[in-house]
Amino acid sequence: MVRAALASKRRIGQGPVPFAMAVPAASVVAATLLSSLPIISNVGWFPDFGFLVLVSWRLLRSDPWPAWWTIPLGLVNDLFTGAPIGLSIALWSATMLALDLVDRRTMWRGYWTEWMVAAVLLAIDELIQWKIAAVMGASVPFRAMVPPFLVSVCVFPLAAWLVSRIDRWRLGQ
């Protein structure tokens, strides 16, 4: 009984899955592709799946992918969501940079801290989308951006949980 509790749960021969290094980036692309689901909605209240998964990965690990991969990841997101090309490239790279700086400052981390950081980043994401839409001639009233922000903040824990599951799967734990 005691022996069984002490024994490692890890079995021999069970390591990371093949291409474990590419799994985080692939999951971000998969989340981005969710925007091509045949959902026809009159309001844009669904969360930005790609950005949610990106932030979740970055909060879980400091180096989910080589830093320059954010450029192609952002490009893919721009292409498939119909955002002006360059928006996600700049925003996602800036997010990674910001999280590097946050990592230097924070003494400890917890669920609440991470959720707060994610909420701030999601707010900035919505704000910049709103600004860019206004620059492109679609000055949506600001209160229209509140529901999608709240929805994405509420969905973040789910995304973080999913990402941690994917991480454990890819490392064979």
């Binding site: 592709l33 925007s35 091509s36 689901l37 045949p38 959902i39 026809i40 909605s41 009159n42 309001v43 844009g44 209240w45 669904f46 969360p47 930005d48 799946f49 400091s62 180096d63 080589p66 830093a67 320059w68 954010t70 450029i71 952002g74 292409l79 498939f80 969501t81 119909g82 955002a83 002006p84 090309i85 360059g86 928006l87 996600s88 490239i89 700049a90 925003l91 996602w92 790279s93 800036a94 990674m96 940079l97 590097d100 990592d103 230097r104 989308q129 709103w130 860019i132 839409a133 620059v135 492109m136 001639g137 679609a138 000055s139 949506v140 009233p141 229209a144 951006m145 999608p148």
Partner: protein, 290 residues
């Protein structure tokens, strides 16, 4: 990158520094591309079209599934209370026949009058028909994906309508699919007029599925609840007399309307050529439009 110094390894420190530079480069590249796509939106036409094509087959196929499932439920709902519905439809049909006869008479009279005035009648051909298979459900903009593209003759700038009313206009076109700027998008401004009285108005999307309607002349609010707004054809992009919206609410100097063509329930959308070809002639893509 979690710590300021990863240790004494020179290689690790250099790697950290390079990844920092990569992120800064990413921000700069992104800003340059963003500036380009804001200033010259036509730069990325090709690559955006290709991205549309990449997801279109999957989206269309999934749409078939959701459509079938949805159809089964509404189909079952239609059997419920069928007798009552039948008698109601019969009454409506009788009224409709009378109206059709009246409309036919008006049409004939109109034709005679136009012949007398020697007005040139533009034919409104259909370029392509497609299904609305997706939308920008996670963005403040209102776009929809149409399952017809460049191979069907769809070009950027063409108006899209459904049997119910105006849907929007094409802003990106791939070989198999195209992206439509819906009437309810904030950037979509449609010159229109009131069907009752013909007062010129402007319809602008509100980003939440409704449109803002404002009269061109400031003064008394000309709207009533239930008024129908139709395109005026001014500007030459949209053909005239396509219904846009029904007024549902009045505010101080205008009204809020509900688009008559709801993209969520529109089964088929029709792409038409630009009403006045000159309206889109500045775009190279529209020049070879039929």
């Amino acid at each position: 990158m979690a710590t300021a110094r990863p240790g004494w390894s020179r290689r690790a420190q250099l790697g950290l520094f390079i990844s920092f530079l990569a992120l800064i480069a990413g921000v700069i590249v992104g800003l340059i591309l963003l500036g380009l796509s804001l200033v010259a939106p036509k730069t990325f036409e090709g690559v955006r079209g290709a991205a549309l094509d990449a997801t279109a087959p999957v989206t269309s196929a999934l749409h078939e599934v959701t459509d079938t499932v949805g159809g089964m439920f509404t189909g079952a709902g239609n059997y419920w209370d069928a007798a009552h519905q039948n008698s109601k439809l019969k009454r409506e049909r009788a009224q409709m026949v009378q109206q059709i006869i009246r409309a036919k008479a008006v049409l004939q009279e109109n034709l005679q009058l136009k012949a007398a005035l020697q007005l040139r009648e533009r034919t409104s051909d259909t370029v392509a028909t497609g299904r609305i298979v997706g939308s920008s459900f996670n963005s403040p903009r209102r776009f929809a994906i149409l399952s017809a593209g460049r191979s069907d003759g769809v070009r950027i700038g063409m108006p899209v309508r459904s049997p119910d009313g105006l849907v929007g206009r094409v802003i990106d076109s791939g070989m198999l699919a195209s992206r439509i700027l819906l009437v309810s998008d904030r950037a979509n401004i449609v010159p229109a007029r009131l069907l009752r009285g013909g007062i010129p108005v402007i319809s602008q999307g509100r980003g939440d599925g409704t449109v803002d309607i404002r009269p061109l002349e400031v003064g008394r609010n000309p709207f009533r609840r239930g008024d129908i707004i139709v395109t005026s054809g001014t500007g030459g992009l949209y053909p005239p007399l396509v219904p846009i919206a029904r007024v549902v609410k009045l505010d101080d100097d205008g009204a809020i309307g509900m688009p008559l063509a709801d993209p969520a329930t529109t089964s088929f959308a029709i792409v038409e050529p630009a009403f006045e070809p000159a309206a889109t002639a500045d775009t190279p893509a529209a020049q070879d439009a039929p």
